[in-house]
């Protein structure tokens, strides 16, 4: 088991390095392919008004004129050990994990990312509980009442749910629920941290949770229903019934358990993706999370900030992958033996 975890951990670190390489390559090569020189990139750091000498100095300071591979290793080194920028009078230190300096704020990117992680975490945590419980319950009921009105109606709603983008349902619930009934108004669009005022925080979060969960619950209901229908046809379900187990036990202990394994896998990955920034939900509800930061940074052309968000998002996904793999191995010895 320990060997399995170490092997997977090693693979995960390797995966993060590969993703960092590709991400770094794309963000610093694509602008160049598109016709930007290192000088233009440096100009973005300094701002449009700076004189050529300042821009050139910044280009040298940030190693933008170095070969790509050198820049990549510098990036990884800074990420792990932090970076000292030394340009004459301009001394600065960027503690690890150093994603570089923001073009716009001239401060390290990581503290800004870190301050936004809790918001995304709270959004993802609340919504994921809602969608997992809601989606699986609806899926199981649908599968057990296959072809009946309950099944048809809930699958119809689920299909509608997967076809509705969250930025549309967000506006609809803003206008038809929040404004019409004057409920869940929060602090009038202002973000309130949980520890400042829990009630206002809750009032702020309920509708974002619901809109995000609705979309995902629809997906999970469809997946659960399909999984349950397949499992219920298995021989061991027939055996369980034949040995006289009550139907409740057959469904809860035998069918649902087997159905949940792939669902939990997908859940882990979805959660990982979401933690990297629920971009659409955060934008639609103006929540100051990682996703909103990504959008703001792109609007500002702030490459290091964008790179930072993408890297954090990738790390969340890889970690979620790892956790799912390990849980799988705990549940099923065949997995850890196969490697």
């Amino acid at each position: 088991m320990v060997a399995f975890i170490i092997r997977r951990l090693f693979a995960a670190v390797l995966l993060v390095l590969v993703i960092a390489f590709v991400t770094y390559a794309i963000f610093f090569l694509v602008p160049q392919v598109a016709g930007l020189t290192p000088y233009d990139l440096a100009a973005r750091y300094v701002g449009k008004t700076a004189n050529p000498a300042t821009i050139h100095a910044r280009m040298v300071k940030l190693h933008l004129n170095q070969p790509f591979i050198v820049q990549y290793f510098d990036f990884i080194r800074d990420l792990v050990f932090g970076a000292h920028y030394d340009a004459g009078a301009e001394q600065s230190y960027c503690p690890p994990p150093c994603f570089g300096y923001s073009f716009v704020y001239q401060t390290p990117v990581w503290p800004q990312l870190a301050s936004r992680i809790p918001v995304t975490l709270e959004l993802a945590a609340g919504a994921s509980v809602l969608w997992l419980v809601g989606g699986v319950t609806i899926g199981v009921i649908s599968a057990l009442r296959r072809g009946r009105p309950v099944d048809r109606v809930s699958m119809g709603i689920a299909l509608a749910g997967v076809s509705l983008p969250v930025f549309f349902t967000a506006i609809l619930s803003q206008s038809q629920i929040r404004d019409r009934f004057q409920i869940f108004t929060g602090a009038g669009g202002q973000w309130v941290p949980m520890h400042t005022d829990p009630m206002q925080w809750l009032s702020n979060m309920i509708l974002p949770w619901l809109t995000l969960a609705f979309l995902q619950a629809a997906l999970y209901a469809r997946l659960t229903r399909a999984g349950m229908l397949e499992t219920m046809g298995e021989d061991y379900i027939r055996t369980a019934r034949a040995k006289g187990l009550p139907e409740r036990t057959v469904i809860a202990r035998h069918a649902l358990r087997a159905t949940m394994v792939p669902i939990i896998t997908i859940f882990g990955l979805d959660l990982g993706t979401l933690l990297g920034g629920a971009v659409l939900t955060e934008t639609a509800w103006t929540l100051p999370g990682l996703g909103q930061y990504a959008i703001l940074s792109i609007g500002d052309n702030d490459l290091p900030a964008v790179l930072g968000v993408v890297m954090v998002g990738a790390i969340f996904i890889v970690v979620a992958n790892l956790v799912v793999d390990v849980l799988y191995a705990v549940a099923d010895p065949r997995v850890r033996l196969a490697g």
């Binding site: 590709v22 076809s163 983008p165 506006i171 206008s175 968000v309 993408v310 990738a314």
Partner: protein, 335 residues
């Protein structure tokens, strides 16, 4: 070796003609997979309705310039005489101040008074164009790499499978947003909306191939072990022949199903990118950007929100219904 079973009496003697007498003669003809699928699909009224809407949408997108010139106004023509500057630019006329009239079939936009009918139609054209071409790219890359990985195995398979893992581990939306945001103005000898459309097609197409690739690889792995592939190889067929003539025809069904189900995903993807402001140019009408513009004014003119929102909903729903039906028709086990 068959062991002869003791058969006695005439009651076990079946008369084939008698059995068939009550049946339509056609019923026992051999049917190809596509015939069986079509028979099943024809009975699925919901899927057919979805398919009908899809065909209608494609026609609308293709004939958009004519429809706009007959029934609408140019998508970027301002009609500020139709909005009330004192009420934040709310449309003056129409049911519930939507601006709907004989000349503006879906009303006008607040503030600028642009024709929503023309804009939503233009959005349909862009949305379908990007969704179809990006799906084509995903399917091409996914099929080629999936079959190669599944058929050849070994280190080729390991390499491609690991690449797929990397792609699946990417924060796709975040990455696509970042990439679409990084390239600005002129690039690759293109500029303006042409550049944006080509860019979006490649980004969306390039990031979705791994899903379809994995499915195709799995299918190829099972097909490779089938007898007809062994037979072809035993007769000395080259790998290319086996891949294209033996394996690929058997992959048509999953490719068709997953393409149909990938199109609505890509429509949502494009809408999301446009909504976030990294899609096409500001002035160009797309469903996502219309929603982004409508969002701050939803209290002023809800109809402005509903038009692009429902356009996305109906389109995605139609593709999903058709795709689900197609899957059920081609693979009854998935039902």
């Amino acid at each position: 070796m068959t062991v002869p079973i003791e058969v006695s009496g005439s009651e076990t003697q079946a008369d084939p003609e008698a059995v068939l007498a009550g049946l339509d003669r056609k019923a026992i003809e051999g049917r190809s997979l596509s015939q069986i699928a079509w028979l099943r699909l024809r009975r699925d009224k919901v899927a057919l309705a979805g398919g009908g809407v899809v065909v209608l949408l494609i026609l609308v997108a293709v004939f958009e310039p004519f429809l706009v010139s007959w029934f609408g106004h140019p998508p970027n023509e301002f009609h500020q005489n139709l909005v009330d500057p004192n009420l934040g630019g709310r449309p003056l006329y129409g049911i519930g101040h939507s601006g709907i009239s004989r000349h503006f079939l879906l009303g006008v936009e607040p503030v600028n008074g642009r024709d929503l009918f023309s804009r939503v139609l233009h959005g349909a054209q862009i949305s379908l164009l990007i969704a179809f071409l990006s799906t084509l790219i995903s399917v091409l890359i996914g099929t080629v790499l999936g079959t190669v990985a599944g058929y050849f195995g070994g280190w080729v398979d390991s390499l491609i499978a690991r690449t797929m893992d990397v792609f699946l581990a990417f924060p796709l939306l975040l990455f696509a947003i970042a990439l679409a945001g990084v390239v600005q103005g002129k690039a690759f000898g293109l500029q303006g909306d042409t550049l944006r459309i080509v860019l979006l097609i490649f980004i969306i197409g390039f990031f979705n191939w791994a899903y379809i690739g994995r499915i195709i690889r799995g299918q190829t792995l099972t097909l490779r072990e089938r007898e007809f592939v062994d037979a072809a190889r035993a007769m000395g067929a080259r790998p290319a022949y086996v891949l294209f003539r033996e394996i690929l025809p058997n992959l048509i069904a999953p490719i068709l199903v997953y393409s149909t189900l990938l199109i609505p995903t890509n429509i949502l993807f494009e809408a999301a990118l446009s909504y976030l402001g990294v899609g096409l140019e500001e002035k160009t009408a797309t469903w996502g950007s219309m929603l982004a513009h409508a969002a701050p004014d939803y209290a002023l003119d809800l109809e402005f929100v509903l038009v692009p929102g429902l356009a996305i909903f109906i389109t995605v729903m139609a593709f999903n219904l058709f795709g689900d039906g197609l899957r059920d028709a081609l693979d009854p086990r998935a039902r």
